[in-house]
């Protein structure tokens, strides 16, 4: 299977590297946002696809990253590069506490606790106006270039390459993680947590660790979004975004890392294409999502690789 998918990934990678040369600015904006959402969805896949920790509150990671990064850029004059990574790190550290709380429960209660935590942040973002700007959010977030000659990052294609590098870097981190001994334990938790505990693993610590990693990467995505859009608002913490991220993971293919990135791109494409055709695009998208859960739970990437493998076998 690797032999089949590797050439495709290389071609896609080349296309992404060359994209700024050929695409009009409008398409570049869409593509950049798709990559950011891809990183966000992929980070959720660590929990959903590899550990079966169904988070309903991943927007918490995105929003925290976005607000933290936006606040630093607005108020501290920190350079872009530093603010983005500091925000991701901060999100990861806070997520240790979140993970500790949420893993008190398992199964559905876990999902609800993640949701509750995200909604709590959502409520706080309205009240804590001195930091979050209340219902107006943070606006006019600059892409401060900083002293080390990273000026190129502030431009449109420079920022695009920065996002692409974060996505590829994030992918490599996740890829190594799920294939490591740590990843093997996560798969054990996914398939039979009680047995994993009985084998002598402290599964709660593994779960907290994966929540923290997942949130840090989700926070990275949010931290990229704030300077990309130039604003951060309460929408970024709303449960609808958590749900959309979950859809991207499932429609793309949970437990594959590549799938959720595709799912995010597909989501962006659908939103863009369908919303120009019909006002009811979200309705159709919901129906497409239900159809995927019912008839193709392996997602787009699962369907594609199965098809490619069959093709490879036939030839």
């Amino acid at each position: 299977m690797r032999a089949v998918t590797r050439p495709i990934l290389i071609v896609v990678m080349l296309a992404l590297l060359l994209a700024p040369l050929g695409l009009p600015p409008f398409a570049m904006t869409l593509l950049t946002e798709a990559l950011i959402l891809g990183l966000f969805a992929m980070s959720l896949d660590l929990m959903v696809g590899y550990t079966r920790l169904i988070s309903f509150g991943h927007a918490a990671a995105y929003g925290m990253g976005a607000y933290a990064c936006g606040w630093m850029l607005l108020h501290t004059g920190m350079p872009l590069l530093f603010a983005v990574f500091a925000a991701a790190l901060l999100t990861g550290v806070i997520a240790i506490a979140v993970g500790w709380m949420c893993t008190l429960a398992t199964g559905i209660s876990f999902s609800m606790l993640t949701l509750a935590f995200a909604q709590l942040l959502y409520a706080i973002s309205f009240k804590w106006t001195s930091v979050t700007g209340g219902s107006d959010g943070l606006a006019g977030i600059p892409r401060t270039s900083g002293p080390l000659g990273f000026a190129a990052l502030s431009g449109k294609s420079g920022f695009y390459y920065f996002v692409l590098a974060c996505l590829v870097g994030g992918f490599l981190v996740c890829f190594a993680l799920v294939r490591s001994p740590f990843g093997a334990v996560l798969r054990g938790i996914r398939e039979n947590e009680a047995k994993t505990t009985a084998l002598g693993y402290n599964t709660r610590l593994y779960k907290i660790a994966v929540v923290a990693t997942s949130y840090a990467l989700g926070g990275l995505a949010g931290a990229l979004y704030a300077p990309f859009a130039g604003f951060a608002n309460t929408e970024l913490l709303f449960w609808l975004l958590s749900g959309q991220a979950l859809i991207m993971v499932i429609v793309g293919g949970a437990g594959t890392l590549v799938g959720p990135i595709l799912g995010a791109a597909f989501f962006m494409l659908m939103e863009h294409q369908l919303s120009s055709l019909t006002e009811a695009w979200a309705l159709y998208f919901g129906l497409i999502f239900i159809a995927f859960v019912l008839f193709a739970p392996q997602g787009i990437w699962g369907l594609a690789t199965a098809w490619l493998r069959r093709d490879a076998k036939a030839s």
Binding site: L104, G107, S111, L113, G243, A280, A282, L283, G286
Partner: protein
């Protein structure tokens, strides 16, 4: 206002709030108890109930038609969804349900926005319930008293239904052991469809009853689904009594929290939930999970 009068009116407020929350929570917990499904669309169906109720009340000029009609229609819709979609998923893991009902929440939410438009709609309570009464010389809306009464009636009715009726017995049997019930000749499929329908109808009842207080709006689904989950988690998934206790607790926390610590009212609800989970991970009356 005297302290006594204040406590009385605020307590009645909390009770009326708890009644609305109870309609949501009990449906959710019934469905979970029987099918191990978390119905994420519960908030959306509550909203659908409010909007269908609006149209029925407007069309017939009679609030009581809406009160009966909306739960019936939404209940039928829910049973239909179980028949056509959920039924295909019983062999899959619990997460498939979560996803599918989330999809349903999206679809219903969008459909409501397309049919009724994006604006909040005002629903008038029936004229008999529109006024105020004086309790210890303080005015109090009759409609809220009506909510408290409805809450008590519905709670007793459901309790009696589960304890006394034949269908209630079958539901309890199936909740405890579906395979055994099926082997004993219970039509488990039909029980599932009915309970899903009943749960959805209760959500819709909550929606219709809430509409005169809060108006029917697109945002109502998201807020109530979280409240409903908090109730069910506090009370214990699948426990009828638990949902009642959870609804009362959350109702009082919301009303009194709003008065004393308005900035922290929302956080307070989550803190209560967290405290319960730390002490009893399965909820107050739930089984350990």
């Amino acid at each position: 206002m005297t302290t006594l009068a204040f406590l009385l009116t605020e307590s009645l407020n909390a009770l009326s709030q708890a009644a609305l929350l109870f309609f949501l929570g009990v449906g959710l917990t019934l469905i979970f108890g029987l099918m191990r499904i978390v119905n994420f669309a519960h908030g959306a169906l509550y909203m659908l109930g409010a909007f269908v109720g609006y149209s029925l009340a407007k069309g017939s000029g009679n609030f009581w038609v809406a009160l009966v009609g909306a739960p019936l229609l939404v209940g039928m819709f829910g049973a239909g969804f179980e028949l056509t979609v959920l039924r295909r998923l019983y062999r899959r893991d619990a997460h498939a349900f979560l996803m599918v009902t989330f999809g349903l929440a999206l679809v219903v939410g969008e459909a409501v926005r397309l049919i009724w438009g994006p604006d909040a709609l005002q629903v008038a309570p029936p004229s008999a319930l529109a006024g105020v009464v004086f309790l210890l010389d303080e005015p109090f809306p009759v409609y809220r008293l009506f909510l408290v009464a409805t809450g008590i009636v519905v709670a007793v009715a459901i309790w009696q239904f589960l304890e006394r009726s034949k269908l209630g017995l079958l539901i309890r049997a199936t909740s405890q052991n579906a395979d055994m019930a099926s082997a004993l000749g219970v039509d488990v499929k039909r029980i599932r469809s009915s309970v899903f329908g009943i749960g959805c109808a209760l959500a819709a009842l909550g929606g219709v009853l809430a509409a005169p207080l809060v108006t029917a709006s697109n945002g109502m689904a998201a807020t109530v689904i979280i409240d409903a989950f908090v109730i069910v988690i506090i009370g214990g998934m699948g426990s009828f009594l638990g949902s009642l206790i959870g609804a009362l607790l959350v109702g009082f926390v919301q009303v009194f929290g709003n008065y004393y610590l308005p900035d922290l009212a929302l956080a307070f609800m989550y803190l209560v939930m967290l405290a319960v989970l730390v002490v009893r991970p399965g909820g107050l009356l739930g089984k350990e999970t």
